[in-house]
C-alpha cells in the first residue's frame, strides 16, 4: 500500500465504527543524516528513517487525536478504535473543525511540486558530509585568534508527507533540507567567546560555501574578545540583521489568530492600527520557490497566499486557521501553522547611516533566553554585542540585559536596507529609539 492508500484505509476503519466521524489522517516519512566533526575527526554520524501516522477523529464537535509508529494493519485498526473512543469520551470542543469541500485546495499536490522543495539531484554520503564539515571547521580555525570549534555539523533531511481527510482533501508533498552549522571559540579559559554561523537550504547547490560559513563564525568569535560591561541606562538599541528576525517571530506570535481570539496578546485590539513605525512593511510569502517555509496550503488544506501583515506600519491581518477564523468571525488565510516565509522589507537607510546617528548606544548581535510576555508585550533578554559611540561601532559588550515593551519597540523602529532573504524569517538591521539597558 502506498501512503495515500494507508490513509484511506485508516479513514475506512474509523468510518466502520463511527459513520458520521470526520477524519484526518497524516502519514509522514522522514530521513535525517547528520555528521558532526571535531578537531578534524568525525564525532558522530546519525542516520534515521522514521515513519508515523497521525489520526484525528471528530464526531459532532468532539475530538480525539493519536499517533503511531507501528503501521501494521492490526495496529492501525487498534488506533482507529482507540481514537474513536477518545472522541466519544471528550466533551464538545468549539475549535473542532475540518475544511469542507470549497474551503480546501483541490490541486495542492501539483502546486507543491511547482515550489521546487525537493532536491532530486544530490545524494550525500558520509564521506562527502565529513569533507564539508572539515572544510567549514578548517576555515574557522584559520582565522587568527580562534582557539577551537565546538561544533562543525552538516545535516541532510528529507520528508514525504501525505494528508487525506474524510471531507475529500488530499495532498502529498516532499521536501529536502541541507544544513551546515559551525560554532567557534576564541580566547581561552574565562575569556572564551563563542560565535556560530549556519545556513540552511532546500537544495544543496544553494547552500553557502562551507569555507565562508566557517570564516564568518571565526571572525565573529574573535570580534567578541575583550568585551566590557557598561553602566545601566536608557539608550538606542540596534538589532543586527542576524538577530532582528527574533523580533519578527515575537510579532508573529502576537498576531496569531488563536492568541487574539483568547485575548492573550498585547496586539489584540490593534487591527488596522499603527503597530510599527511608519515605513515598515511586513510580508508573509509562502510562494517563494525553494523557500524553507514555502507551502501551497496549511495542514488543514486551506490555501496559503502571500499576505501583507503590516503595511507602512499599519497592522493588516491576523494569522488565521479555520478554528481561530471561526472564533473571530473571519476567514482562514491558511496560517493554522503560523507564518511561512516571513520578512520585514528593507528600509531606505544603510546600516552605517542608521548607526551613524547614534551618539551612545548598543548593537546587539546575540540574545539569550526567550522571555517576553505575550499578554503585555513586556520584553527582557540577556544580550551581548558592541558599544556604539559617536556613530561608530566600538568595543564588544557582554552580560547586559535589554528590556522594554514590544509595543513601544515596534512603534519606534527604523529599518536599514540590508535585508537578505536567507531563512524562513528575515529582517534587515533595525534600530529601536530607546530601551532600558542593564549592565554593571
Amino acid at each position: 500500500m502506498n501512503d495515500k492508500q494507508i490513509c484511506e484505509s485508516l479513514i475506512g476503519f474509523v468510518k466502520e465504527i463511527a459513520a458520521d466521524a470526520e477524519v484526518t489522517a497524516v502519514i509522514s516519512e522522514t530521513g535525517d543524516k547528520t555528521i558532526n566533526v571535531m578537531a578534524g575527526n568525525p564525532q558522530f554520524f546519525e542516520n534515521s528513517t522514521i515513519k508515523k501516522v497521525v489520526l484525528t477523529v471528530m464526531i459532532n464537535q468532539q475530538v480525539g487525536g493519536a499517533f503511531s509508529e507501528d503501521l501494521s494493519t492490526e495496529a492501525l485498526r487498534t488506533l482507529a478504535t482507540e481514537t474513536v473512543a477518545m472522541a466519544l469520551a471528550a466533551p464538545a470542543n468549539k475549535d473542532a473543525i475540518i475544511a469542507t469541500d470549497g474551503e480546501y485546495m483541490t490541486d495542492a499536490t501539483a502546486r507543491a511540486e511547482t515550489l521546487d522543495l525537493f532536491d532530486t539531484t544530490t545524494n550525500l554520503d558520509v564521506a562527502k558530509m565529513q569533507e564539508m564539515a572539515i572544510t567549514m571547521e578548517n576555515a574557522a580555525l584559520a582565522v587568527a585568534g580562534v582557539t577551537k570549534c565546538s561544533t562543525s555539523r552538516v545535516a541532510f533531511k528529507f520528508s514525504h508527507t501525505t494528508i487525506v481527510t474524510s471531507a475529500g482533501f488530499e495532498v502529498s508533498t516532499s521536501d529536502t533540507c541541507y544544513m551546515a552549522v559551525v560554532s567557534v571559540i576564541a580566547g581561552d579559559g574565562d575569556t572564551q567567546t563563542e560565535h556560530y554561523s549556519y545556513d540552511s537550504k532546500r537544495h544543496l547547490a544553494d547552500l553557502e560555501d562551507m569555507a565562508a560559513i566557517g570564516k564568518k563564525a571565526g571572525e565573529g568569535a574573535v570580534a567578541k574578545q575583550g568585551a566590557v560591561q557598561i553602566p545601566s541606562g536608557n539608550m538606542p538599541v540596534v538589532f543586527d540583521h542576524t538577530i532582528a528576525p527574533q523580533l519578527l517571530t515575537m510579532f508573529a506570535e502576537a498576531i496569531n489568530g488563536m492568541a487574539v481570539a483568547k485575548g492573550e496578546t498585547f496586539l489584540k485590539d490593534s487591527i488596522f492600527q499603527p503597530v510599527f513605525a511608519e515605513g515598515i512593511t511586513i510580508v508573509d510569502d509562502p510562494t517563494i520557490p525553494r523557500g524553507l517555509g514555502s507551502t501551497p496550503c496549511d495542514k488543514q488544506g486551506v490555501e496559503s497566499e502571500p499576505l501583507t501583515l503590516v503595511s507602512d506600519g499599519i497592522l493588516q491581518s491576523w494569522l488565521l486557521g479555520l478554528a481561530s477564523a471561526k472564533r473571530l468571525g473571519l476567514t482562514s488565510n491558511g496560517r493554522s501553522g503560523g507564518t511561512t516565509n516571513l520578512h520585514m522589507q528593507a528600509g531606505n537607510t544603510s546600516r552605517d547611516e542608521l548607526i551613524a546617528g547614534i551618539e551612545y548606544g548598543v548593537l546587539i548581535t546575540d540574545m539569550l533566553g526567550h522571555s517576553s510576555t505575550l499578554s503585555t508585550g513586556d520584553f527582557s533578554r540577556g544580550a551581548s554585542g558592541f558599544l556604539i559611540e559617536n556613530g561608530k561601532v566600538t568595543t564588544p559588550v557582554d552580560e547586559i540585559t535589554i528590556a522594554g515593551n514590544l509595543k513601544d519597540m515596534f512603534l519606534n523602529m527604523l529599518a536599514a536596507n540590508d535585508l537578505k532573504m536567507d531563512g524562513d524569517v528575515n529582517a534587515p538591521t533595525v534600530k529601536v529609539a530607546s530601551m532600558a539597558v542593564a549592565g554593571s
Partner: protein, 462 residues
C-alpha cells in the same frame, strides 16, 4: 524455558556483534513508549494517545559514534543497519564490556500509570481543576491544565548477549494560569496518577499564588545588587549554568570547566551532586540508556571540582568509567551525556539569616525560563517570582527581572548557604535538540556580587 530477555538475546545479540565488530563499544537500544494526555485550554478539552517504537543501533570507534535509527523493529532492519554502521566507521578494536549484572535496581515501581484511571475520569479531573481555579479568583483570564502519563519500556542488548531492561513510568500535571502574566505550577514524577488525583489542589493553589504575586509586582530595578537564590526552584541555575559545563561531552568540546578537576571552581562549602537514584524523581533511572546502573555522583566537593558526568565513551576518554549519565530522548536520538537529578547540598545558614544579613538585593524564588552558553558559562534567567530585599526585610515583589552573569565567576562569590534544601518541580532539559526529564534542587544561597540584575526600571531608585 526461555525468558523474554533470552529470546531477545538470541535474536539480536549476533546482529549487535556485526554492528560492533572492530569497535570499542556499541549496543542495540529498543524502545516502546505508550503515552496519553488530556489537556484543557480555554475550556476546550483535547485528549490524545500515542504509540512510539523503534530501535537505535550504536557503534563507537575511538570517539566516533555512528548511529542508525528506525521505527521498524525487525531482525532484517537491524541487520541492514548493522552492516551500514560497520562500513561507515571501520576499526580494528576489541570491544571491552564491563561485567554483566549490577542491575536490578528499583528507584520507582514498574507499574504503568496507563489504564487505572480511564479517559472520562481524567477528563473530569482537568475540568474540575479548570473550574476550581476560575472559581477561586475572578482575576484569572486563562487556564491550561495538562495531565500526561506515559510508560517507556527500554531494552539494551549487548554483543555478548547481556540484556538490560528498564520500565520507566512518568506522570505530570502542568497548570498554567494567566492573570497579568502566565505562570506555571507542575507536579511530576516516576509514579502513577494516584498522588495527582489525591493532591491536585496543592498544585492549583501554587499556580494561583504565583499569579497573584505577579499581579502585585512592581518593575524590577536594574543593576548590580546582592542576589539571594531561594531554596528549590533556583536549582535550575545549578543545572543550567554549572551542570551542563561538567557534562563530559561539553567538557571535551572545551567548556569553562575543562581541565579543572582538582581545582577550586566554587566557594567553600559548595557540594554539587547528580543523583539518578532518587526515589520516584522525574530524572531518576534504574539503568541509563547504555545499560549502566544509575548512581549518585559527587561533582563539586567543598568548592573543588572532583568529577564530570560521563557516558561510556567519556568514561574511557577521561578514565573512571561511566557515571550512568548516558541518556537519549528516544530511540531516534543518539545517547549523550545528560543530567538526572542535580542538586546542591545544604549548608548551615537559614533563609531567615540570609535575608536578615542582606542590605540591598533581590530574593529570587522561581523562574520562567533560562538559557546558558555551556561553553562560556554565560547565563540569563527570567525571574517570575522575586522580591526586593532592603535592610534585612523581604519587601515588594518585582516583575521583569532577569539574572545575568557568568557561572564560573558567580559561584566563587557564594557567601551564605542555607540548611533548607528543597527540590524544585523539575522539568524537561533541552540539549542538542533532545529533551530529557530532570529535576534539580538546592537550599537558599546568597551571592553578594557576581550576578547582574536586569529589569525594566533603570531609574536607579533603591
Amino acid at each position: 524455558m526461555s525468558s523474554p530477555n533470552d529470546i531477545l538475546a538470541e535474536q539480536f545479540a549476533p546482529l549487535v556483534a556485526i554492528a560492533t565488530n572492530g569497535a570499542d563499544d556499541g549496543n542495540l537500544f529498543i524502545e516502546k513508549v505508550l503515552a496519553e494526555d488530556v489537556t484543557i485550554s480555554d475550556g476546550q478539552v483535547v485528549p490524545s494517545y500515542s504509540i512510539s517504537e523503534g530501535f537505535g543501533l550504536d557503534r563507537v570507534v575511538n570517539q566516533f559514534q555512528v548511529c542508525a535509527y528506525s521505527s521498524i523493529i525487525t531482525p532484517e532492519q537491524v541487520r541492514l543497519a548493522a552492516t551500514e554502521l560497520a562500513a561507515a566507521s571501520p576499526g580494528n578494536k576489541t570491544i571491552a564490556l564491563p561485567p554483566s549484572g549490577g542491575g536490578g535496581l528499583e528507584f520507582y515501581s514498574p507499574t504503568s500509570p496507563l489504564g487505572k484511571f480511564d479517559l472520562p475520569t481524567r477528563i473530569k479531573l482537568v475540568q474540575d481543576i479548570d473550574a476550581y481555579i476560575r472559581g477561586k479568583d475572578n482575576r484569572v483570564q486563562q487556564v491550561q491544565v495538562s495531565l500526561k502519563g506515559s510508560m517507556q519500556n527500554v531494552i539494551v542488548v549487548r554483543a555478548d548477549g547481556y540484556v538490560v531492561t528498564d520500565c520507566r513510568p512518568m506522570v505530570a500535571l502542568t497548570i498554567d494560569v494567566t492573570m497579568a502574566a502566565s505562570v506555571r505550577a507542575v507536579y511530576s514524577g516516576r509514579e502513577t496518577y494516584d498522588n495527582i488525583f489525591a493532591n491536585w489542589q496543592n498544585t492549583a493553589d501554587e499556580a494561583l499564588r504565583k499569579a497573584d504575586v505577579i499581579m502585585q509586582a512592581a518593575p524590577c530595578p536594574a543593576g548590580e545588587m546582592a542576589v539571594i537564590l531561594g531554596a528549590g526552584d533556583s536549582g535550575v541555575l545549578w543545572h543550567e549554568a554549572v551542570g551542563h559545563g561538567v557534562e563530559a561531552d561539553i567538557v571535551r568540546s572545551g567548556s569553562m570547566f575543562a581541565g579543572k578537576i582538582g581545582e577550586r571552581v566554587a566557594a567553600e562549602g559548595v557540594y554539587l551532586y547528580d543523583d539518578g537514584t532518587v526515589s520516584t524523581a522525574r530524572g531518576s533511572l534504574n539503568t541509563d540508556d547504555e545499560g549502566t546502573p544509575s548512581q549518585k555522583t559527587l561533582l563539586i566537593e567543598d568548592g573543588i571540582l572532583v568529577n564530570y558526568m560521563k557516558d561510556r565513551l567519556h568514561g574511557r576518554f577521561y578514565g573512571g568509567g561511566s557515571t550512568g549519565n548516558s541518556r537519549r530522548q528516544s530511540y531516534r536520538h543518539r545517547p549523550i551525556v545528560r543530567m538526572t537529578n542535580t542538586y546542591m547540598a545544604n549548608g548551615d545558614s537559614t533563609t531567615a539569616d540570609i535575608i536578615t544579613d542582606t542590605k540591598h538585593g533581590i530574593y529570587a524564588v522561581s523562574y520562567g525560563g533560562g538559557q546558558v552558553n555551556p561553553m562560556t558559562g554565560k547565563f540569563v534567567f527570567q525571574v517570575t517570582e522575586g522580591y526586593m530585599v532592603r535592610n534585612g526585610q523581604i519587601c515588594e515583589p518585582v516583575k521583569g527581572a532577569t539574572l545575568i552573569g557568568s557561572s564560573s565567576d558567580a559561584i566563587q562569590y557564594i557567601d551564605l548557604i542555607g540548611n533548607d534544601f528543597a527540590w524544585g518541580p523539575g522539568g524537561t532539559c533541552g540539549k542538542e535538540g533532545q529533551g530529557a526529564p530532570v529535576t534539580f534542587g538546592m537550599p537558599a544561597i546568597r551571592l553578594p556580587k557576581g550576578i547582574t540584575v536586569g529589569g525594566t526600571d533603570t531609574s536607579g531608585g533603591q
